[in-house]
């Protein structure tokens, strides 16, 4: 390796040709090839060719944009990424997409058995979770409304037998215990789904997405409805319509590869047609399914069109006058189609995007009861407590 001979070796010539054919082909594609605006696989906007401006040149942002442009618009991008995933798997890796150079670290995903990809759960290193639970407790005490708190465990918590050998995973039951010990007010009920969603009962999670699947949401609905004092409708009362057979979810984006099998996405439909509208910013929309998302990558957003800061789901066939305030993350989006059968109105608020006073909202809208449906991981990761503070 260290002897530099003066004669030219044919294999070096071959490698040189390889390098420059590759580089020049890449350059020409970047210059002339088609550009895409959005990466469905990674769910993000792709960088476009930056405009040459003096200020951008001087502060270095031009070159940053140029580098991002080259990476984002590179030819055969998805194929190269899949190749990289395959290489990592062949080299023995059982998890991908982590980043331990930051605190708190990102765990990435486990490549599990049965074609499942799972979130890696790491122990909490911040007090976000505790602050959130204290926030929910404040909410419970401040409103005094009947209040159900339903934290949904992650797929990797519930299907541990599918995780790779010796895989480390934080036990979310610790958080469940903390919630139970903290939210103890009479009006509040903590709903435990940990046993219900266990894999001995079925597969309640998407293979490639971090959400529970429609059947998981149904199980959640059954337990929650009972706690709320309703008799939940049996499975036979619903048609589960297979809306897509090619759903690649958020977890897949961290482990793009050729051989991942896609998920099926089912939309539940109650056998007796209901007159249900979703009101967002004064606009009424019929039904809860935004089927235009079935043609996109983010198919889970078919449920209620993804997250909105505030929306009201009205069931005109249900006249019991009960108005539920639902504090939630995206897990609830596939739960609402079941739950709305029992309420005249469900006021759905995603505190991450909501900036008004929640207590005034409760007063102004005549809310009769409240629920918080969150994935446990979201409660650990994203601080919503300031939106629940009084005053």
């Amino acid at each position: 390796m260290h002897k530099r001979s003066s004669q030219c070796r044919p294999e070096n010539v071959a490698v040189t040709v390889l390098l420059f054919v590759f580089a020049v082909a890449g350059a020409f594609y970047l210059l002339l090839g088609p550009k895409s605006d959005f990466s469905e696989n990674e769910n993000r906007v792709l960088e476009q060719a930056p405009a040459l401006e003096t200020s951008a040149l001087l502060d270095g942002s031009y070159t940053d944009s140029l580098e991002a442009f080259v990476n984002d618009q590179f030819p055969l991008r998805t194929q190269f990424l899949s190749l990289n995933t395959s290489f990592q798997i062949v080299s023995g890796r059982k998890d991908l997409g982590s980043n331990y150079s930051i605190t708190p670290a990102e765990g990435g995903v486990y490549l599990g058995k049965n074609d499942h990809v799972y979130e890696v759960l790491l122990p909490n290193t911040t007090d976000t979770f505790k602050k959130n639970i204290q926030g929910l407790k404040t909410f419970s005490q401040e409103t005094g409304l009947p209040f159900w708190v339903m934290p949904v465990p992650s797929g990797s918590q519930e299907q541990q037998e599918n995780l790779p050998l010796f895989a480390q995973n934080h036990d979310q039951r610790e958080e469940l215990k903390y919630i139970r010990d903290t939210i103890t007010d009479k009006n509040a009920t903590v709903v435990d789904l940990f046993d219900t969603l266990g894999s001995w009962n079925g597969d309640f999670y998407y293979k490639t997405d971090h959400h529970w699947n429609t059947f998981g949401a149904y199980e959640g609905y059954k337990v929650l409805a009972e706690k709320m004092g309703f008799t939940p409708y049996g499975k036979d009362k619903f048609t589960f319509r297979l809306a897509s057979r090619s759903f690649y979810g958020t977890l897949y984006s961290k482990a793009i590869n050729f051989f991942q099998k896609p998920d099926d996405l089912y939309l539940p439909e109650y056998t007796e047609p209901q007159d249900i509208v979703q009101v967002i910013g004064g606009e009424e929309r019929e039904g809860l399914y935004w089927e235009e998302y079935l043609d996109k990558k983010d198919k889970y957003s078919t449920f209620m069109g993804g997250n909105h800061s505030v929306e009201v789901v009205k069931n005109k066939n249900q006249n019991n006058g009960r108005k539920l305030l639902l504090l939630k993350d995206s897990y609830a989006n596939s739960l609402v189609p079941f739950l709305c059968l029992h309420y005249s109105e469900i006021h759905v608020i995603d505190l991450r995007y909501y900036s008004q006073n929640i207590y005034e909202y409760v007063e102004e809208n005549g809310i009769t009861e409240a629920a918080a449906v969150y994935s446990m991981k979201q409660l650990c990761d994203v601080d919503i407590s300031n939106k629940l503070a009084v005053g």
């Binding site: 390796m1 070096n12 010539v13 071959a14 420059f20 350059a27 580098e67 990289n84 080299s91 480390q168």
Partner: protein, 462 residues
């Protein structure tokens, strides 16, 4: 700009080569100088002014040293001026923050300035100093041509992290080098080799190392895996970068000095340092150690000289006390070897000599990689099995998932694989396989670059 980015590979490299080979001989250095300035300005454009300023000052100093070469005192004055300017720049940009933080630790209450480190400053200031000293020593003439001098200091092949090419070595190459197909093609191969080392081996091992560093209380098995991971990571990261630098140099007709000669196959710690980051070791030898008197002094003075050189070597790596400690650790081992350890080593079997050296290097990297000394302490305790469980679940998991890459790294860092490849190099089938291998590895590396666009080289921080 970083070698391991697609923008470099697909845009900067082909364009700069094309321009370089089109322009007439007389304009080649000018062309290279201009592209080097663009390369340098890529990340933080303002820093290019610092580089240009240094080049101007050092250029003038060089001319004056040469002009006054018969009047020792004046020549010495301008050589000293060059050194003061370069050391001053390095001191200001690299160590101000560290000094202020340290003073604050002793009770001072000073605002800690945030000074961004200009790219490659630790490397090009050392090249500049070598220029002044070599001219002063009359080993080589000064550069009369500003463009030539600018090319020497700023050449993008090695400005970011070396190899530190001393002026005496480069003078001829800057003045009249010959670009040949042999150099060019060997350079391309070398460049790709470095890219593979960085993207396929180093980055994976960095992840393992970071995972263990992230743990509050690693088990003994995890701790060892973490130490091994960093040991191989730093080798593949830095030698990968160096391969790319030497490769790029070759494409422009340069022959840059080697930096690594299978350091982990060494059989004493002194030998390790003769094979690890060779150009830095030589620089300290020629410009610090020998001027201090080198070996030809009495024992206490020798120990003193070695201690100074090694603490400086440590501190050069980074503005943080753990690097000083690491330097002191290296110095201590080398002093011990000089005084008595070497004689002992010669009496034990080769395998144990190697083991001692490898472990000594690996333990050194703990000081190097843990800026938080209390965490380094926890790790050492875990390594020898006190205060930590021997193995928890994470140890076997990391072993299974990263073990194969550690084995690959160990094999590729030893001379065995290189020797085998050397022996097979004239077999026709092997040549075909070899080229196919490069195609596959290039595709994998591109995937890795797309997957993680920003994976800087470790030594670009120093």
């Amino acid at each position: 700009m970083s070698f391991n980015s697609l923008a470099f590979l697909c845009l900067f490299l082909p364009i700069s080569l094309l321009a370089y080979y089109i322009v007439p001989r007389k304009a080649k250095n000018f062309c290279l100088f201009m592209f080097s300035l663009v390369f340098y300005a890529w990340g933080v454009p303002a820093h290019v002014l610092i580089l240009l300023g240094t080049i101007v000052v050092d250029y003038i100093c060089g001319l004056l040293i040469s002009h006054f070469s018969d009047a020792k005192g004046k020549a010495r004055l301008f050589a000293a001026l060059n050194i003061v300017v370069n050391v001053g720049l390095l001191g200001y940009f690299k160590y101000t923050g560290m000094i202020v933080t340290t003073l604050n630790g002793f009770g001072a209450d000073l605002p800690v300035p945030e000074i961004a480190l200009p790219l490659g400053i630790s490397f090009y200031t050392f090249q500049s100093i070598s220029y002044a000293v070599d001219v002063y020593r009359k080993q080589v003439p000064a550069m009369r041509n500003f463009i030539d001098f600018g090319t020497y200091i700023s050449c993008f092949a090695n400005i970011v992290s070396g190899p530190i090419a001393r002026y005496s070595l480069m003078y001829e190459q800057i003045k009249n080098r010959q670009e040949t197909t042999a150099k060019f093609t060997a350079g391309c191969r070398r460049f790709l080799m470095g890219l593979f080392k960085k993207m396929l081996i180093a980055n994976t091992l960095l992840e393992l190392s970071q995972r263990v560093q992230y743990m509050e209380a690693p088990s003994t098995l995890s701790a060892w895996l973490g130490v091994l991971a960093f040991t191989f990571y730093i080798y593949f990261d830095f030698s990968g970068y160096t391969d790319m630098a030497i490769g790029v140099g070759g494409m422009f007709g340069f022959e840059l000095p080697e930096n690594f000669e299978f350091p982990y196959a060494s059989r004493s710690f002194s030998e390790f340092w003769r094979r690890w980051h060779v150009t830095l070791g030589r620089w300290f030898r020629d410009y610090v150690y020998i001027p201090l008197g080198g070996n030809r002094v009495k024992k206490p003075r020798l120990i003193m000289n070695l201690a100074v050189v090694w603490v400086l070597t440590g501190v050069w790596h980074g503005a943080s006390w753990n690097f000083a400690l690491w330097g002191a650790y290296c110095g201590l081992l080398i002093i011990c070897e000089k005084l008595f350890l070497q004689k002992l080593l010669e009496k034990i079997p080769v395998f144990f000599r190697w083991l001692y050296t490898f472990l000594a290097a690996a333990m050194g990297w703990v000081f190097f990689s843990y800026t938080d000394l209390s965490k380094a302490g926890t790790l050492f305790a875990a390594l020898i099995g006190i205060t930590a469980p021997g193995a928890d679940a994470s140890g076997p998991y990391l072993l299974i998932t990263f073990g194969p890459m550690l084995v690959v790294a160990a094999l590729c860092s030893s001379p065995l694989v290189a020797e085998m490849a050397h022996r097979l190099k004239d077999v026709a089938v092997w040549k075909v396989l070899w080229v196919v291998g490069y195609v596959v590895l290039l595709a994998l590396s591109v995937g890795a670059m797309l997957n993680n666009a920003y994976t800087p080289f470790l030594y670009a921080n120093f």
